[in-house]
């Protein structure tokens, strides 16, 4: 292959690898919205918590991030269930204002705690490094690992939602909570499950991002915007849409970063956001309602 | 009939995904009558109402109201022209008072005139004592009445009623029927759909029958009852919508 073609492939692959991690975040946000009609502003901050948990396990005891993920995700699942039970459940079915403000409060609280406990310093988890060269294309090993794990988790969640009885109940509740209730589905339990699952997915994404990127207390906001952009691209409530949208955003960011710089790459999510908004404002987020 | 129709629909079509909810519909309503609209569940009655009132836009076809082409018009302009509708499940402004629900719909820009009209309508249906109560606190029957009164504030000449009798007790039902006749005497035209076939057939002068989004029959109630296609449509689905809905 020509040199420029190799570079093109390399950039695209790098974007796809990162995109799979974004997918974890967007899928969780989508599930929570689907079942509860709540936009979780604190979603990015849950990612931040997952990233810090991984960082501390690695820094203090040298725990391998992949092993850490196995401990962090269930732990964050429980945190999510607790948040749902104590706080979020109170605003389900309330006017939009309540849930937006509540999750914003939560976001501020979590960011503030992280700042106070762990300072504003940038941190990283240098567990993996180097790259794999296949046919002249270099692939970053940390990204490859993050991608593989993210893909496995995404597949597991997909199978759960489509095959498992409980997963089907989740989808039924997202379709129509009232009908689900009539059909004997314990909707309150489904909500606990979904917020827990969403939190665990965000935390898993955080753990994997910690391996690739530097982490800091306010990282959540940027990733929340990425998740929004992905959902705008893929359609609100759509699993496949979120996954493909995430890969697309990853690739777009990779190219923007390659052509210009990382600052511009960070802005891609916003540009996508505005673009979709201007092109098809009515059709934004699919055709729910 | 030499009378000009007040509503003329032709080629009206609306799809949802692969489903054609309303299919090449064509009919015309003559004024000052009570028209009935019946059909099995999912035959497109509510979709048709949504199209006529501008809540939904048709994929193709035209709607002519009082001699003007209103296809694609927003609901508020269609309402301003004189078409009013109610919803199958009442849609009141629940966190607003009964009085405010009426005033917000007033055709008159003059506040005093609007208040006078609202007071008159409230007295008419006996809701005056609940004037300052939040609409969300009313009983279901009262909500149905209020929704209709709110509609009357806009002074419509053509009124579409979507299942006005569902979940309404017999006393309230008689009240509604009385009200409909009263308005009819003042020149208003009605298009009414309901699951209670008995009511529709006694109340309406002419009936339209929908099945799978198509108009399969139109005529006098007596003729409709004997119409082969109508009977087939209802029996063919093994669902007799003629049986009254259980009260909620």
């Amino acid at each position: 292959m020509e040199g420029w073609a190799l570079t093109l492939v390399q950039v695209a692959i790098s974007g796809v690898l990162l995109g799979a991690v974004y997918a974890l975040l967007a899928i969780g946000l989508n599930l929570i919205f689907g079942v509860m009609r709540i936009i979780n502003i604190a979603h990015g901050d849950l990612l931040m918590l997952g990233a810090y948990a991984t960082f501390w396990l690695f820094t203090l005891w040298g725990v391998n991030p992949l092993l850490a993920l196995v401990a962090v995700s269930p732990g964050m699942f429980l945190l999510g269930v607790a948040l749902q039970r104590v706080l979020v459940d109170r605003v389900v079915g309330q006017p939009l204002l309540s849930s937006l403000l509540l999750t914003f409060g939560l976001s501020s609280l979590l960011t503030g705690l992280a700042l106070n406990l762990w300072t504003a310093n940038y941190r990283s988890v240098p567990a993996f490094s180097g790259s794999l060269v296949v046919g002249g294309v270099a692939v970053s090993i940390p990204r490859l690992i993050a991608f593989s794990v993210a893909l496995a988790i995404t597949a597991a969640v997909y199978l759960f939602l489509t095959r498992a009885k409980l997963g089907k109940a989740v989808r039924a509740t997202a379709q129509n909570a009232e009908v689900a209730l009539v059909c004997g589905i314990d909707v309150a339990r489904i909500r606990l499950l979904v917020f827990g699952l969403g939190t665990a997915l965000a935390a898993a994404a955080g753990a994997l991002l910690a391996v690739i990127y530097t982490i800091y207390p306010e990282m959540g906001r940027a990733f929340l915007m990425k998740a929004f952009a992905i959902i705008v691209l893929g359609g609100l409530g759509s699993f496949q849409g979120a996954f493909l949208g995430a890969l697309a955003l990853g690739v777009a960011e990779a190219f923007a970063g390659y052509i210009w710089n990382t600052q511009i790459a960070e802005a891609v999510a916003y540009v996508v956001f505005i673009g979709v908004l201007l092109v098809r404002p009515g059709g934004l987020f699919g055709t729910s309602e | 009939m030499a009378v000009e129709p007040i509503l003329r629909v032709s080629g009206l079509t609306r799809r949802f995904g692969g489903v054609v909810a309303v299919d090449q519909l064509a009919f015309a309503l003559t004024p000052n009558r009570i028209w009935g609209l019946i059909g099995p569940n999912g035959s497109g009655k509510t979709t048709l109402f949504n199209l006529l009132s501008g809540v939904l836009r048709p994929d193709s076809g035209t709607i002519e109201l009082f001699g003007r082409d209103v296809t694609g018009w927003p609901s508020h302009r269609i309402n301003a022209l004189g078409l009013g509708r109610t919803f199958q499940l009442t849609r009141l402004f629940r966190q607003m008072t009964v009085y405010e629900n009426l005033l917000v719909a007033a055709r008159q820009a003059d506040a005093a005139a609007a208040r006078a009209r609202a007071d008159e309508l409230l007295a008419f249906v006996g809701l005056t004592p609940l004037r300052d109560e939040y609409a969300g606190n009313l009983s279901y029957g009262q909500q149905k009445l209020l929704e209709l009164m709110r509609l009357l504030m806009t002074e419509p000449r053509l009124i579409l009623l979507d299942e006005p009798f569902a979940g309404v007790n017999p006393v309230m039902e008689n009240r509604l029927i009385g009200l409909i006749h009263e308005l009819l005497a003042r020149g208003v035209t009605f298009l009414i759909t309901d699951h209670e076939m008995r009511l529709i057939l006694t109340l309406c002068e002419r009936v339209l029958v929908l099945d799978y989004g198509k108009l399969i029959a139109e005529g006098e109630p007596a003729a409709i009852q004997r119409d082969e296609r109508v009977i087939a449509a209802y029996l063919g689905r093994r669902r007799t919508d003629a049986t009254p809905e259980p009260a909620p």
Binding site: L109, A229 | S75, H76, N79, R94, Q95, A109
Partner: protein, 337 residues
């Protein structure tokens, strides 16, 4: 009509009897008391610069800034239910417009402020056109995103804005003049809400909040009205931003486009009671006075405490102070409040 009047009235009367206890006769404060309180508040507000220290006047300036933001946000979001996270964007836009007009073109501060308000309204029109067609959650997300985009544009457009370096304004601002300008802005925003709330427009906006489709069907031109109030609502943060830039003498994208402007505005309005006239004013004063105290005592814990405060407000007083007072019958359930 005579014939059918009889039956409905009787039947409804029966149902009314069952409902009666829920209709609570509200205490209506005598007019003299209301006017007296208003006059006292006005006197304090006007006399403050003559009797208070510079610190207090400056605090008053900031509190009035929040009143202007909360009242103008309330006009759109409190009444139509469309939750706007755009106030940070309009505030930042106003701050930069004001700063650039003053530093580059040498405009007087008050003229720059008015221009910033005008631009805010224009941009409001342009932004509202596509976004107000979106349903609630999507509108909220869209404006949150647009606000962030505005911040990025201000950061990246270095030739105009000097990017992250920010803009320094001549430090010749007169605190007392700024205070009165902000007082005028806060009063104007609140007076506008009061006028709208008592009018048919106010009822129509509430109808949009309650059920937009039903509002359309009874003749409310929802799109036009939403656009109108969005535009009116966007002008105030524009002016407020310019006054803030002038008074503070320094702005940068991270500060003036911070989402905090939106969130605190929303929290203020909700604390007092969104969709009421008095609520957002009381909420803005109360919440931000509290925030000021917290800020001084625990500067590092500020976001934590503020987050917790917001959560407490949402969970325990969703109707705000006004909702509480009106439910308890302390205040009349009148739209004029």
């Amino acid at each position: 009509m005579a014939e059918i009047v009889e039956t409905p009235r009787e039947a409804a009367a029966e149902e009314t009897a069952a409902l009666a206890p829920r209709v609570r006769p509200a205490f209506a404060p005598p007019r003299a008391l209301v006017l007296g309180v208003l006059a006292a508040v006005a006197l304090v507000a006007v006399a403050l610069p003559f009797v208070a220290t510079a610190y207090v006047v400056r605090l008053g300036f900031i509190l009035l800034l929040w009143v202007a933001l909360a009242s103008s946000w309330n006009l759109l979001s409190g009444y139509t239910g469309y939750v706007s996270f755009g106030h940070a964007g309009f505030f930042g836009l106003g701050a930069y417009t004001g700063a650039l007009l003053i530093t580059r073109l040498g405009w007087p501060w008050w003229l720059a402020g008015l221009a910033a308000g005008g631009l805010g309204m224009l941009v409001g029109l342009a932004v509202g056109w596509p976004t107000l067609r979106l349903r609630g959650p999507y509108f909220a997300v869209a404006l949150l995103g647009l606000s962030e985009v505005a911040r990025i544009v201000a950061t990246v457009w270095e030739p105009l804005t000097r990017g992250g370096l920010g803009i320094t304004l001549p430090p010749t601002a007169d605190l007392v003049a700024d205070y009165y300008a902000m007082l005028a802005l806060a009063v104007a925003a609140t007076a506008l809400v009061w006028a709208v709330a008592r009018s048919r427009l106010g009822l129509r906006l509430l109808a949009i909040r309650e059920d937009e489709t039903a509002a359309e069907v009874v003749g409310v031109p929802t799109t036009r009205l939403k656009l109108l109030v969005f535009m009116l609502s966007a002008g105030f943060p524009g002016i407020a931003g310019a006054l803030y830039a002038w008074e503070t003498s320094f702005i940068d994208p991270g500060t003036v486009f911070s989402v905090t402007w939106s969130v605190r505005t929303i929290a203020s309005a909700m604390f007092g009671g969104a969709g009421t006239v008095v609520g957002p004013v009381v909420g803005a004063l109360g919440l931000n006075l509290l925030a000021e105290v917290l800020w001084v005592r625990f500067p590092f814990l500020h976001p934590v405490l503020f987050g917790a405060l917001i959560i407490v407000i949402v969970v325990f007083m969703p109707g705000g102070l006004m909702g509480l007072a009106q439910r308890r019958g302390w205040l009349p359930r009148s739209r004029a409040w």
